[in-house]
């Protein structure tokens, strides 16, 4: 009995010592074409000089989970190390015909649709492994999309901290207030990943949430 108590005591001490040095698994989730990869690229480029993945106007450009390890973010003298995990956009429907309007061949469109469905399944499987999740939403779109609510509901059930990013704030139709109203219990940061607008507030919120 005493040995077991001592063993648990040392285990707890060692876990706490190494906890701070561990990489924080930071996931980027959201619907397709919201700018998850653009934001992850912006952060990776700023702190490692390299990007995480390709971006495109065609939805479902990211069809596999992509990583960048040991991304050390320095902000106002503070430092944190993240494993960035950029996930394929989650949707409830995929129609290969939607890709044909981007001048894609039928064969390529069907292949893209197949890969996109597999990517969505992979994204969902990864939900369990995250330490912290940034939900990236397009500020010019309706935030009351069930996919957004479903992802957030799952993160809450798993007790994973959530930061909501209202991206594309540079667009005329962007409405950050609407996103704040839709998710009043969460910290919402309006940014433009494309133009690097308001990233300071994003890092501030990210660091605050990482400490929780």
């Amino acid at each position: 009995m005493e040995i077991k108590i001592l063993k648990n005591f040392f285990k707890r001490i060692f876990t706490n010592i190494f906890k701070d040095k561990k990489e924080i698994k930071l996931g980027f989730y959201g619907p397709p074409n919201a700018g998850k990869t653009s934001l992850a690229n912006r952060i990776c480029k700023d702190f490692t000089g390299e990007e995480i993945g390709a971006v495109s106007k065609i939805p479902h450009e990211t069809r596999k989970v992509q990583f960048k390890e040991k991304v050390e973010i320095n902000y106002k003298g503070k430092k944190m190390v993240f494993k960035m995990i950029d996930t394929p956009g989650i949707a409830t429907k995929i129609d290969y015909e939607d890709f044909l309007k981007y001048k894609m061949s039928k064969k390529d469109a069907k292949e893209r649709a197949k890969e996109a469905t597999e990517g969505i399944i992979e994204s969902i499987k990864w939900l369990d492994d995250m330490d912290l999740v940034v939900i990236v939403l397009d500020a010019s779109e309706n935030p009351y999309n069930q996919v957004n609510i479903t992802i957030i509901g799952n993160l809450v059930a798993r007790k994973i901290p959530v930061l909501i990013v209202a991206n594309k704030s540079d667009l005329r139709k962007a409405n950050i207030k609407k996103i704040e109203d839709a998710f009043p219990e969460y910290d919402v940061v309006g940014i433009s990943a494309r133009y690097g607008k308001n990233l300071e507030e994003f890092y501030e919120s990210l660091f605050k949430l990482s400490k929780k």
Binding site: I94, K114, I120, I121, I124, Q146, G153, N154
Partner: protein, 136 residues
């Protein structure tokens, strides 16, 4: 009715709307719930479900839907929306709701609408209403 209007009506695909009381799924396992829902959707029905699924059941529904696309002819996925009638709630309201939810075995104040994407083009949702845009 003009000739054009008549021909447009002729293009609307056949579908029905099914209402499922929560008691029909209350005692089912998560897997059986999803199976029952998907069977209804695959029969070209729009489902109105009393209550809502648990968060992990909603993601499982999406996963199973994705696994079926490309394997079932003309199946493109689903449109899904949940609406809850209670709006902003105080801590006390939430506490009361959690007791009621526990006693009734599910959140009965919500309504879930699920339809096949081949019929439901879009579900526009705001906090107070859901609009269904149907394909012609």
């Amino acid at each position: 009715m003009t000739k054009d209007e008549k021909s447009n009506l002729g293009k609307i695909k056949g579908f029905s709307i099914q209402f499922l009381p929560y008691s029909e799924i209350r005692d089912l396992s998560s897997g059986d719930r999803i199976r029952k829902i998907l069977n209804i959707i695959l029969g070209n029905n729009i489902l109105i479900l009393q209550g809502r699924l648990k968060p992990d059941e909603e993601t499982r529904l999406i996963e199973d839907t994705m696994a079926m696309i490309g394997h079932i002819k003309d199946f493109k996925g689903i449109e899904l929306a949940v609406i809850e009638g209670n709006g902003k709630q105080s801590i006390l309201d939430r506490f009361k709701k959690s007791i009621v939810t526990t006693l009734s075995g599910g959140d009965l104040s919500a309504i879930t609408i699920i339809g096949p994407a081949s019929i439901v083009k879009e579900m526009k949702r705001n906090p107070k209403k859901i609009e269904l845009m149907l394909s012609k």
